[in-house]
């Protein structure tokens, strides 16, 4: 028989020292041993119907639960073993009672058991049997036992005893409404059950809290860990309350919740409060929570300073958000102003907790925003209110700028990202008046992060921006990407990152799309102002898309020319805008890009044909020319540029002879002045097309077919080719020129004769064998063979109205 006499422990153990865990295991094993023996005896007596003796053994068995030496984990195991065995007694008694063998005064008898622990366990067991066989005893017995358990004030023992009480009574608690209850006096109503459980709960909580203060301060951590292990025992009371079917919203509101909250608030224990508040949220239905928000949230304000109130509120909000958006659910009742209630109460909570860290207040705002967005998606004003509140909070806390990567910054970014993500419509986000103010609290990095986030969101959703006011707002919002910021760090950005970010802005320009051309013009001007402040590094990304938007707008005006008598002048203005914009790029040393943009403008003006378009087109092409002459110095770039200019002019039909002639001449002249001979040759060959398929107003927009000038160009090309010292290059150029000759011959240029072709062909045939045998020569050979084959095909199967190759020598 084990005694828990403390004096025994002070004796030096004869056996070697055991670790604390091993000590526990040993004690537990010993206790379980006793339980086994006594249980066996008890059952044997019951078999022989020797009740009194059985009770004695039961008492002995229960005596093991009087120990103070076991840890909560071990005590739990012992408790499970004992209560398991106790079931046999319970079943025996039930059986007896049902058979009608009334054991007189058993209830009284058991009260004379020696120690209080066994006494109360037996009383509970017997009481249960009574209640199950006679309904009318319920009310009294429940009241009785829950009071008597006060006799055990030791936290661990008391908790398990009361847990036993709760478990025993789980199926027999009266659950009838007051109005409908029969024999309410004796059987009891749901109110009696509530009273019973609330008392049990309050007592258990007190015991649980008392554990916090037991023992040495240096063992605090272990004690708190042990308390956490036992929390379910206390929580089960709340579960039991939730299982009472007759509890409706009214009863919950009037008697259940107030009872729970009173205990939770008054116990002033952080661990208990944090657990129990979350327990309430989990255990009771959302319909109940909706009707008791004010009381619950007020209680939150009164909780211990160490309680993480934020998590409780967030848990509640998240649950209600799910409830609100459940597909076949009832949703939030109209009369419950969910957002208003939370908004107000959260403000109170924040105010009542002076040392709540800033990031926690932001987390609470995040959960409020989530609530607004999930439960009231059309109410932008709710979302805006949360932002406004956040601004106020920050101002009250004296926060000016939040540093990147701090907890506050992270929560702040979360707060700002949510409306962007949920609405997926930047225009809706702009309606939030306080979004910008909130963004201002971010430091440079966070503001840039948000800017990128916002633009990406617009691009992913193809959100078109239809007014200049909105463009203005957005470009202001994403200012870190548009222009240098006063709080920008001095280190240069990573060039790849910078290019990607500016690419975002460039792509965003294509989203600027108004419903009317006039509004679109305003948009372009607004954007231009913002981009103009961006500096030379940025404009090369942001201005070109703007120029193309302007060209597109000009075409739009043309298509609506019937409806707008001012369309000519508007187009003129647009081209002026483009001119000025491209000039800004020139100042930023983007000569080649500007050249190309001017050429594009020329083409556009030529197509749109607004009043005065010829002057504008000429101006744009000559600007391209000037850039070519003054700014393009690399020979490869020069060939590319002059080729492009020539090709562009070839396409334009809007010029009169007065304007077209100088352009043609300039192209040919420029081509002939290229540095390298081969480039000259090729340039001049390209120019020949200007004189053939070029069109002017003078030719009524028909191809001019100046065969003579074409032949002159090609002849010049031959002369230049002859001047090449590298024979491989020379032959290559001859073959290319031959191809050009054939092209014009087939187009019907009578200045090109078969003789010319023959001469060139024989020249090439002459020179080819002399070339060094290498890959380049092979290519030239193939080129020549393909050309000859082309001629053969034409000769064998002449096209209907094609030219004749009579006299061609191959």
């Amino acid at each position: 028989m084990i005694t828990n006499n403390l004096s025994l422990i002070s004796v030096k153990p004869q056996t070697p020292q055991l670790s604390p865990q091993e000590e526990q295991d040993k004690l537990l094993d010993e206790a379980l041993g006793v339980v086994k023996v006594q249980a066996f005896q008890m059952k044997r007596c019951l078999d022989k119907s020797k009740l009194m003796e059985a009770l004695k053994h039961a008492s002995n068995m229960l005596g093991e639960l009087r120990t103070s030496l076991l840890s909560p984990k071990s005590y739990y195991e012992l408790y499970m073993a004992v209560t398991d065995e106790l079931r046999h007694l319970e079943l025996y008694l039930l059986d007896e009672f049902q058979k009608g063998h009334k054991v007189a005064d058993l209830y009284e008898l058991v009260q004379y058991a020696g120690n209080i622990i066994p006494r109360l366990y037996l009383l509970t067991t017997v009481g249960l049997v009574y209640m199950r066989t006679n309904e009318h005893s319920k009310r009294d017995i429940l009241k009785d036992i829950v009071e008597m358990c006060r006799g055990v004030q030791h936290p661990l023992r008391g908790l398990f005893l009361r847990n036993y009480l709760l478990q025993c009574t789980r199926n027999i608690l009266p659950d009838a409404d007051e109005e409908n209850a029969e024999h309410a006096e004796t059987v009891g109503t749901v109110k009696d059950s509530v009273d019973f459980i609330l008392i049990n709960f309050a007592e258990m909580n007190k015991l649980w809290v008392r554990m916090q203060h037991q023992g040495h301060s240096k063992e605090k951590e272990r004690r708190e860990q042990e308390r956490q292990e036992l929390r379910l025992l206390v929580g089960t009371n709340l579960v039991r309350l939730s299982q009472l079917e007759s509890i409706d919203v009214e009863k919950y509101k009037k008697i259940v919740l107030p009872g729970i909250l009173e205990q939770v608030v008054s116990c002033r224990d952080a661990i208990a409060q944090e657990y129990l508040m979350e327990c309430i949220i989990q255990v009771f239905p959302d319909e109940f929570h909706l009707q008791t928000l004010n009381s619950f949230l007020k209680a939150c304000a009164e909780l211990h300073q160490n309680v993480n109130v934020k998590n409780i509120i967030i848990a509640l909000i998240d649950r209600l958000a799910v409830f609100a958006t459940k597909e076949d659910g009832t949703g939030i009742p109209q009369d419950i102003k969910l957002f208003d209630i939370f908004s107000e109460q959260v403000a109170q909570i924040i105010q009542s907790r002076q040392d709540m860290p800033a990031e926690d207040t932001v987390s609470l705002q995040v959960s409020l925003i989530n609530l607004a967005l999930k439960c009231y998606p059309e109410r932008f004003d709710y979302v805006d209110k949360v932002l406004q509140t956040s601004v106020d909070i920050f101002q009250n806390l004296g926060i000016k700028r939040v540093e990147y990567n701090t907890p506050v910054a992270k929560e702040l970014l979360r707060l700002l990202k949510i409306p962007v993500q949920i609405y997926n419509n930047l225009l809706t986000v702009l309606k939030l008046e306080h979004f910008g103010s909130m963004l201002d609290f971010c430091d440079y990095h966070s503001r840039k992060t948000m800017s990128i986030f916002v633009l990406n969101n617009a691009l992913e959703n193809d959100t078109l921006i239809p007014t200049s006011e909105e463009v203005d707002q957005i470009l202001t919002l994403v200012a870190p990407l548009i222009q240098d910021q006063p709080d920008q760090p001095t280190e240069k950005d990573d060039p790849e990152d910078f290019a990607e970010e500016q690419g975002l802005v460039g792509r965003f320009v294509t989203l600027m799309s108004a419903d009317t051309p006039d509004q679109q013009y305003l948009i372009l001007n607004t954007a231009r102002k913002h981009f103009g402040n961006g500096g030379n590094q940025r404009i090369k990304y942001t201005l070109p898309p703007l120029v193309f938007q302007a060209y597109k707008l000009a075409f739009q005006y043309k298509s609506l020319s019937e409806e707008d008598e001012k369309w000519d002048r508007k187009c003129q203005k647009i081209f002026q805008f483009c001119h000025q914009t491209i000039s800004a790029l020139i100042k930023a040393e983007m000569a080649e890009l500007s050249l190309r943009l001017f050429l594009q403008g020329g083409l556009a003006a030529g197509q749109i044909q607004f009043e005065n378009h010829e002057t504008v087109a000429y101006e744009f092409v000559s600007q391209a020319f000037s850039l070519y002459e003054e700014e393009v110095s690399d020979s490869k770039a020069q060939l590319a540029a002059i080729t492009l200019i020539t090709a562009t002019v070839e396409q334009m039909t809007c010029f009169g002879e007065e304007n077209h002639e100088p352009l043609r001449t300039q192209c040919a002249l420029a081509a002939s002045k290229l540095l390298k001979k081969p480039d000259q040759c090729r340039g001049v060959a390209i120019c020949s097309h200007l004189f053939w398929s070029g069109k002017t107003r003078a030719t009524s927009e028909e191809e001019m077919h100046d065969g003579k000038r074409v032949a002159e160009c090609l002849k010049k090309g031959l002369r230049i080719a002859n001047q090449c010292m590298n024979s491989s290059v020379q032959v290559q150029l001859f073959v290319e020129l031959l191809n050009h000759y054939i092209y014009f011959y087939e187009k019907g240029n009578d200045q090109i004769t078969v003789q010319v072709l023959n001469q060139l062909i024989s020249k090439i045939k002459q020179e080819l064998p002399g070339l060094e045998a290498n890959e380049e020569t092979d290519q030239i050979n193939k080129h020549f063979l393909n050309t000859i084959e082309h001629l053969k095909n034409r000769m064998d199967a002449p096209e209907g109205d094609g030219v004749s190759y009579g006299g061609l020598v191959l």
């Binding site: 792509r507 898309p545 083409l603 396409q651 092209y743 080129h783 393909n786 082309h790």
Partner: protein
């Protein structure tokens, strides 16, 4: 062998991205080669193409940022020599006879060019010419109705089946053209 042929995206100068319906069709893993006619215009688009296939060939368009792309390129796929050139250098732009000059020079069976933002696929003197158009439907001053398009070539020995994908309104329409090497 699947070869993706596309170009004239003009991102970000004239367009913000490929049409969503095209993006859905272009999945990595199925395409062996990509031939791009140029005018991407930035590295971002190039990187995107690299995610679709590792073998990507780009020639220089008049607005490409990267000046190191070649003016012309010849790629051999199966039995076909394929020439690639943006086309702004060919005068007049889009002229079949002028393009033929390039074919002679590069000695290719198929010549791919762009710049006009207009899909073309035709035979000329027994050689095949493809213009994939603009994959983004980018603005072109000389063309008023631009339809986003790209081309997928399925090359099997001496036959190439060309599929052109066009975004007409909300729908992607596909057409099929066959070319046999003679």
């Amino acid at each position: 062998m699947l070869v993706l042929v596309l170009g004239d995206l003009h991102i970000p100068h004239r367009c913000q991205g490929l049409p969503a319906k095209f993006k859905k069709l272009l999945v990595p893993g199925r395409i062996h080669h990509i031939l791009c006619t140029g005018n991407l215009c930035t590295k971002e688009s190039y990187d995107y193409l690299k995610t679709l296939a590792s073998d990507v060939h780009v020639v220089r368009g008049d607005f490409d940022e990267n000046i190191n792309y070649p003016e012309q390129k010849v790629v051999t796929v199966g039995q076909f020599r394929i020439g690639l050139c943006h086309g702004h250098q060919v005068v007049p732009w889009g002229d079949p006879d002028s393009l033929a000059l390039i074919q002679h020079q590069l000695d290719v069976d198929i010549l791919i060019s762009g710049h006009t933002h207009k899909f073309e696929a035709y035979e000329h003197d027994n050689k095949f010419y493809i213009n994939p158009g603009s994959a983004t439907g980018a603005y072109n001053p000389l063309e008023s109705n631009i339809i986003p398009s790209f081309v997928l070539m399925d090359i099997q020995s001496s036959t190439v089946v060309t599929y052109v994908y066009q975004l007409i309104g909300e729908d992607v329409k596909v057409e099929r053209i066959e070319y046999k090497k003679s």
